[in-house]
């Protein structure tokens, strides 16, 4: 069997059916059962606020007021909040926009930051430290302060009110953090792997593409999850860099649910819960990439 580490092989391996882990054999001792129960309880406690959110999303705000607050027993449970959030929040036409903005930005970010991380992790050259600090420094300012300069820059470039404004900005903004993470992660990869490829006459880009990338899949998965979360849920830049209603992502759409004087909180919460679903799906899907020892085991 060809056990060489190539991108295609790794992907093949990941998408093949995993031999069913011996899950039934997990509960081998009472200690384990107890630990598991404790874990479940801990997790439920952890997500209590989210459970509260789900409960609230099934009541109207009137019901909350009349029954004595958010923690009172509801008089009736309804699904109207979801319908209202969907319709008033315009989710059906804003949701595609969210994806149109997030997916390209995500891929661009991961690609470009792994490129620069590769250079910073693998080579010693003048300006390496400066560039690293520069990437980090980009994250040190609160984004709000960049609002006006970025707005004017975008306008000057003629990109105001376009998808590209957001895609490019998010990519640029996340580059710093992702480069840093990738760089540090890449430094845990033993040099011998890459050296042998170089001796074999591989060009640097090939080494990056075919060897390094598969090896950093866990970091890729982690960053893909985090970046998806941040870009998909970002609100500030959507309202600054966009004006047309037809381009807006769901964050801008849901913000409309906040009234000038008063807001129907039940609807907002329903909207927020719906907006969390794509990210959570991404997270669950990417979990398969957090496989300990998968790639390293193949060294042998």
């Amino acid at each position: 069997m060809d056990r060489s580490i190539t991108t295609t092989n790794t992907i093949r391996m990941l998408f093949s059916k995993k031999p069913k882990g011996d899950k039934t054999g997990f509960f081998t001792s009472p200690k384990r059962v107890l630990a598991y129960i404790a874990l479940i309880l801990f997790t439920l406690l952890w997500i209590t606020p989210i459970l509260i959110a789900i409960g609230t999303s099934l009541r109207t705000y009137s019901d909350i007021l009349l029954q004595g607050g958010p923690f009172s027993m509801p008089a009736e449970l309804v699904l109207t909040n979801y319908r209202v959030a969907w319709e008033r929040g315009g989710l059906s036409h804003y949701l595609p926009n969210s994806f149109i903005i997030t997916i390209p930005a995500l891929f661009l970010t991961l690609f470009l930051s792994s490129l620069s991380a590769f250079a910073l992790a693998r080579f010693r050259f003048r300006g390496a430290r400066l560039i690293l600090v520069m990437f980090l420094a980009g994250n040190m300012l609160p984004p709000q302060v960049l609002m006006l300069p970025v707005f004017r820059l975008t306008d000057a470039l003629g990109l105001y009110d376009t998808y590209w404004a957001l895609i490019l900005f998010h990519t640029a903004f996340q580059l710093g953090f992702c480069t840093f993470v990738f760089r540090n992660y890449m430094r845990t990869i033993p040099n011998e792997m890459l050296e042998s490829a170089r001796i074999d006459g591989c060009g640097e880009f090939r080494i990056y593409w075919q060897i390094m990338l598969p090896l950093i899949l866990p970091a890729m998965a982690a960053l893909a999850t985090l970046e998806f979360t941040w870009i998909f849920n970002n609100y500030l830049w959507a309202i600054i860099l966009l004006r047309s209603d037809s381009l807006k992502p769901i964050t801008a759409g849901l913000a409309v649910l906040q009234g000038q004087y008063v807001t129907d909180w039940s609807v907002i919460i329903a909207g927020a819960l719906m907006a969390s679903i794509p990210t959570l799906l991404v997270f669950v899907f990417l979990q398969r990439y957090f496989l300990s020892g998968l790639t390293l085991g193949s060294y042998k």
């Binding site: 705000y61 003048r126 306008d155």
Partner: protein, 446 residues
């Protein structure tokens, strides 16, 4: 690689970038051939794609509550019916964000043409910076000089030119639970002494007289506005807002020490007000734990419909009958951006929005009060009539604390009020601090 060219490259780049931001903001008046815009705007005509023959007007609004948005959309479609060659491109953004984003909007190369906004100091700010187009011609041609009450025209005028179109306003009052008053044998108080007596009665029967939520501090400012206007008169109050009176004036201190602090110390307000938003404060009233709430008419946006028969308001009690009566009546309206690209269409839309018909619709649907005197008020609810009567009988109409004074003074002032609430004894030092701010903001050369 040598150091030098590398370093030079870095420095040159930095200088270029710096030069870019030191430049004036980009306000271009682009010559638009004819009045048709083709490629940049997605006209909201379902299924038709980009329309090329019509002219457009871009309309931005901070209305996001469901009823106002629906009313707005209805009016916009009416306008489009009457003007088939104009398409309205509408955007709605929540008001808190709108207040920040508006400056980005106004400096864009294609700004929105017509925008919703608040009267008072907030409009003044943009007018003074030349960001708002004069619409005196529209006032003239639409006959608003006759149809709009003088007070509202004054509100919209700067240096003899009209810049603002005021279209709706609402009242503030003390809202109360009718049933709780009845149970405790209380009549809506008209004087301060009556109010204090009512509070005592309520308290002795286990009901907190007043609820309030000051997580966002403006509800506290409502108390300041009214106490100040009742004790010292609206003229003094407005001058204070304009920075012409001093915060350390004993008249200001009296408001806090002789009227407000005793109420707090007597337990006439709920505990921990700064933990609650307005809806959370309303909860106390719904539960019957509190009886009254000094609030604007929009309390109805929160108040459960099931209890609509059990809520009414009375005018904030008179403290000194020799003092003129001032009321808060924040006014909303529209303006046209100075750099609007579609001036003719914008003025047409504005004329429509300022007409009696539009305001009639808005008033009927939303229960706010119209500015246009041609609007038929006979169909209004009893509460609306009560509101109109109260405001028409007032000697002066103010815009509310955070719209009457500059934003920074408003923030400082309101923070001071919350600090006072937490520790009433510290009022002297708070007022001194506010006075320092006032001097800095209003008397120092900007």
């Amino acid at each position: 690689m040598k150091h030098k060219p590398y370093a030079i490259l870095v420095i040159v780049t930095m200088l270029l970038l710096l030069a870019a931001c030191a430049a004036e903001p980009i306000i271009e008046t682009v010559e638009v051939p004819g009045e048709t815009i083709v490629e940049t705007v997605e006209v909201e005509v379902p299924g038709e794609g980009v329309v090329s023959e019509k002219s457009i007007v871009i309309y931005n609004s901070y209305q996001t509550d469901p009823d106002p948005i629906a009313a707005e959309k209805h009016l916009i479609s009416l306008f489009e019916e009457q003007n088939p060659d104009i398409d309205v491109v509408q955007s709605n953004i929540p008001s808190e964000d709108y207040k920040q984003a508006i400056r980005a909007y106004l400096t864009a190369s294609t700004p929105p043409d017509v925008l919703t906004w608040f009267a008072g100091n907030r409009a003044r700010f943009f007018i003074d910076k030349g960001q708002i187009m004069s619409i005196s011609d529209v006032w003239e041609s639409e006959g608003w000089n006759e149809d709009y009450p003088a007070g509202f025209k004054a509100l919209s005028t700067v240096d003899g030119e009209q810049y603002f179109l005021p279209t709706s306003y609402y009242w503030w009052g003390v809202y109360y639970r009718i049933s709780i008053f009845e149970e405790n044998g209380i009549e809506p108080p008209q004087t301060w002494d009556d109010l204090m007596a009512a509070c005592e009665t309520l308290k002795s029967n286990g009901v907190t007289p007043f609820t309030i939520g000051t997580k966002a501090p403006w509800p506290a400012a409502g108390w300041f506005d009214y106490l100040n206007m009742r004790v010292n008169g609206p003229e003094f109050h407005v001058n204070l807002m304009l920075g012409r009176e001093s915060y350390t004036d004993p008249r200001v201190e009296t408001v806090f020490t002789d009227y407000w602090a005793p109420m707090i110390e007597n337990g006439y307000f709920i505990d921990n007000p700064s933990a609650y938003t307005v809806p959370e404060a309303v909860q106390f009233m719904v539960d019957g734990k509190a009886a009254m709430f000094l609030m604007g008419a929009f309390i109805h946006n929160v108040w459960p419909e099931e209890l609509n028969d059990d809520i009414a308001f009375f005018q904030f009690p008179i403290i000194d009958s020799s003092v003129p009566v001032g009321e808060d009546a924040p006014t909303d309206g529209f303006f046209i951006a100075a750099n609007a690209q579609h001036t003719e269409e914008a003025k047409a839309l504005l004329a429509f929005l300022g007409s009696a018909e539009s305001q009639q619709y808005f008033a009927d649907e939303l229960g706010r009060l119209p500015v246009h005197s041609g609007v038929d008020t006979s169909g209004f609810t009893a509460e609306q009539q009560q509101g109109i009567e109260m405001l028409q009988g007032a000697d002066y109409v103010a815009q509310f604390f955070d719209r009457d004074t500059t934003p920074e003074m408003a923030t400082e002032g309101m923070n001071g009020m919350i600090e006072f609430w937490d520790n009433p004894d510290s009022i002297s030092s708070i007022l001194e601090r506010l006075e320092t701010t006032r001097v800095e903001l209003f008397e120092t050369e900007e």
